[in-house]
Symmetry: C2
Subunit: 115 residues, 2 copies
């Protein structure tokens, strides 16, 4: 594509979520989303996206995004909303409310602070 | 936080980039970003963000985002811009132009198509 082109881009996904899959040993001082139980939650999330046939919603496994003490941690773009789900019900609510209906789930939002 | 709260959220990052680190065997029919040379590029990207001290810019390693034939593949949010850098110079340009100065690098953009 030309460097001078001023073209419009259609977003590929309406919702693109990333969930941390970092797994540190349980004794590690930083903790990790894996130790906090993230992996089965992300697995459920992926299954629900498939089950509900949401082609404009994607979930991608991610490495450490920092804020390890706040895990299990996920971020949803383009809004840049950070969630900390801890139960299967939390995952169901994120999918039903946010991913399907565009209503963020305030009770699960965390606001990480940059150091 | 209350479920009824209607609060504003300040984005944590001005730029949050995700790069695919999936590594499949070279003979795998889907290919992979790792096989396409992604890993040293993402390493350089992370080093440049640190070197230029861009606290509102983050890079996160990611799993497969699909579109494996288009790798090395990265996506930059909140804009949702997909890039296919292949050389260290490409990485430098993305950091200088997009991450530091907010000007996307049209020549490196790819437009993945959902199946």
């Amino acid at each position: 594509m030309s460097e001078e082109a001023d073209f419009e881009l259609t977003p590929l996904y309406r919702v693109h979520a990333f969930g941390c899959t970092t797994q540190r040993p349980p004794s590690h001082p930083r903790g990790s989303c894996g130790t906090a139980g993230a992996l089965p939650l992300w697995e459920r999330l992926g299954q629900l996206i498939e089950k509900h046939q949401l082609p404009d919603v994607a979930f991608t496994a991610a490495g450490c995004m920092g804020f390890c003490a706040a895990g299990p941690l996920m971020v949803v773009y383009p809004e840049g909303i950070w969630y900390r789900p801890t139960t299967p019900d939390d995952i169901d609510e994120i999918v039903d409310s946010h991913f399907k209906n565009g209503r963020r789930v305030d009770r699960l939002i965390v606001v990480p602070q940059r150091r």
